[in-house]
């Protein structure tokens, strides 16, 4: 007991120091983003820092590059891996005794990838070039683990933004991200002095969301409907039941300072552009590569490759974001919370897993947390706040980017708990609320 309270105290002391660091750095970095960063968050006994009343259990560990995650109506968890573990690319995790930890773990599937979702007795999984599905029996066991149906094959993957994040609507459609094989559509990618291409040829076959039939095997890339365009890369996406629309999180462009040192200093380059949430409809255009969103000026700014100077606005035909977050935080998971377990303010709001930045160097890295945005009637109804923090292990590991864990996938369980994956070590946390 004594030991416990001492431990607890030191965690508190650490946390105080942590808040001070944040304060110090944001003060001199002129960080104007309004963030309820520390208020109300408390350390959990496995290292995560959560709001009062929430508790995280380590549901599973050691899965390696655990990407997206899906939970069935009876609480069976499936995780997609970006690197095979013991030759398997999907893991089925079951907690048979209800202690918050998976005790029945089986692997199947010989391909790596990111996408994972479950609907109507099927598990959907994506590689970087295809979407498959597996039939589940009435106990959510995979019927034929070695022979999934090919739903879509031949998707484009050119080595950059190749992860195929997927989600489904409730009318039998499958939405697939085809990321841009480019940072900002220069003639020579990521090369100083190379001009932007207008029209950008990447937009014809990538940098958007493609829509397929969820229950029709044998579709090819060409069968897809080009649903939305001007999205550089989307990893976090979810269907919003309140609005009956698709919401996505875009990974904004990199390297403003590297490519245009005369226009952007390293600090501006670390903060810009915003990571944006968009609500999509058939035909939506979010503006990449011609513009990016500046959350300080609250404007769509002409990209420097296309003649921009950090102030000129453009993209009148492009949508505005639903909400904008600081640059380079890498949103990899999006979940609209529909459960009843969490306090009322969380209902229908958005959880976003931020993988954490790399493109803020030489400034300090940032992210490695799960944030929450309250929603009312399908629109944000307040500021975003950090919900679960310290995945990195410490403020120093956040700053250096050498995070111990990087949040990636999010899913909601039937009891209203949420699950978070980490694609550095392959930890899966289950976060519950218990007054």
């Amino acid at each position: 007991m004594k030991n416990f309270s001492r431990n607890f105290l030191s965690i508190k002391a650490f946390y105080l120091a942590f808040s001070c660091c944040i304060l110090a750095f944001s003060a001199c970095a002129g960080d104007t983003t309004k963030v309820a960063f520390v208020s109300g968050l408390q350390p959990n006994d496995n290292g995560l820092i959560l709001p009062a009343g929430f508790k995280a259990t380590t549901f599973a560990e050691g899965l390696g590059r655990a990407r997206h995650i899906a939970v069935t109506s009876d609480g069976v968890v499936f995780v997609k891996l970006a690197k095979l573990k013991d030759g398997k690319g999907i893991y089925r995790l079951q907690d048979t005794n209800g202690d918050g930890k998976a005790d029945l773990v089986t692997g199947f599937g010989d391909f790596t990838g990111t996408g994972m979702t479950v609907r109507n007795g099927y598990l959907y999984a994506s590689s970087d070039v295809a979407v498959y599905r597996y039939r589940l029996d009435d106990r959510n066991k995979v019927v034929n683990p070695d022979q999934p149906e090919n739903i879509v094959t031949g998707l484009l993957a050119r080595g950059e933004h190749e992860a195929k994040a997927i989600t489904l609507d409730y009318d039998g459609n499958l939405y697939v991200n085809i990321g841009a094989y480019s940072n900002s559509c220069q003639v020579v990618d990521r090369t100083k002095g190379s001009p932007g291409m207008r029209p950008c040829p990447v937009l014809d076959s990538a940098a958007g969301i493609w829509k397929f039939k969820a229950d029709k095997p044998g579709q090819t890339y060409a069968d897809g409907v080009h649903y939305a365009t001007g999205l550089r890369n989307v990893v976090g996406l979810d269907w919003n039941k309140t609005t009956n629309t698709l919401f996505v999180m875009q990974h904004g462009r990199d390297q403003l300072h590297d490519l245009f040192p005369d226009i952007y200093d390293t600090k501006q380059s670390a903060e810009l552009p915003a990571e944006c949430m968009y609500e999509l409809h058939q035909g939506s255009n979010c503006g990449w590569p011609y513009i990016y969103y500046d959350e300080f000026q609250h404007k769509k700014i002409l990209a420097p490759e296309f003649g921009g100077d950090s102030k000129k606005t453009a993209g009148e035909d492009a949508q505005d974001p639903v909400i904008a977050f600081p640059g380079h935080l890498a949103p990899n998971g999006l979940l609209f919370y529909t459960g009843d377990q969490f306090p009322a303010k969380y209902k229908n709001g958005a959880f976003i897993a931020f993988h954490g930045s790399w493109n803020r160097a030489p400034e300090h890295q940032k992210g490695f947390f799960v944030v929450f945005v309250p929603f009312k009637d399908g629109k944000p109804s307040g500021e975003w706040e950090v919900f679960a923090d310290n995945f990195s292990g410490s403020p120093a590991l956040t700053a250096s980017g050498r995070a111990q864990h990087r949040p990636c996938g999010l899913a909601q369980g039937p009891d209203g708990s949420i699950y978070v994956t980490d694609d550095t070590k392959g930890t899966v946390w289950k976060i519950s609320y218990n007054k």
Partner: protein
């Protein structure tokens, strides 16, 4: 008590942090185009200049500690490219690199842009710096060597 402690603590941190930030924000002096790099003090000078080239040209992708970014950008620590054949290494900087590469079972597939606009001396310096930092130990590369490799790379 805790409150005052916290406040003074953050004040100190603020000062330290701002100091650090202003240090990293300092602009770099221009790099000399020519200069001997073969002798020991020449090596030191080349490493010094190379450090600045690294900060401006490589750091944002390969990171401050040269350990790269998992799944995207490879480390520059004891890889076969960094420690290996000079021609291949110089050509990676001149022409860039795309496609998937594997280092210790981890794959990387982001894009490394060409850096052919750097002078022979800058390339020699940055590679000499990388080959003698971050736990690496390998022979220096001279501007003359880069010049020869550049000529046959075109």
């Amino acid at each position: 008590m805790t409150k005052t402690l916290g406040i003074s603590f953050s004040a100190i941190l603020l000062i330290v942090a701002c100091g650090l930030l202003s240090l990293t924000n300092k602009s770099f002096p221009p790099i000399q185009k020519n200069g001997p790099v073969q002798n020991v003090s020449g090596l030191k000078v080349s490493i010094e200049r190379g450090k600045k080239v690294y900060a401006e040209q490589c750091l944002s992708c390969h990171q401050v500690d040269a350990l790269g970014v998992s799944g995207m950008t490879p480390p520059l620590v004891k890889t076969k490219w960094v420690l290996g054949d000079k021609t291949t290494l110089v050509q990676i900087v001149l022409k860039g690199l795309t496609g998937e590469i594997e280092i210790d079972g981890d794959t990387f597939h982001n894009v490394m842009a060409p850096h052919s606009e750097l002078t022979d001396q800058q390339i020699a310096d940055v590679l000499t710096y990388v080959r003698n930092s971050f736990g690496n130990k390998a022979r220096a590369i001279s501007a003359a060597e880069v010049k020869v490799i550049r000529a046959k790379t075109k």
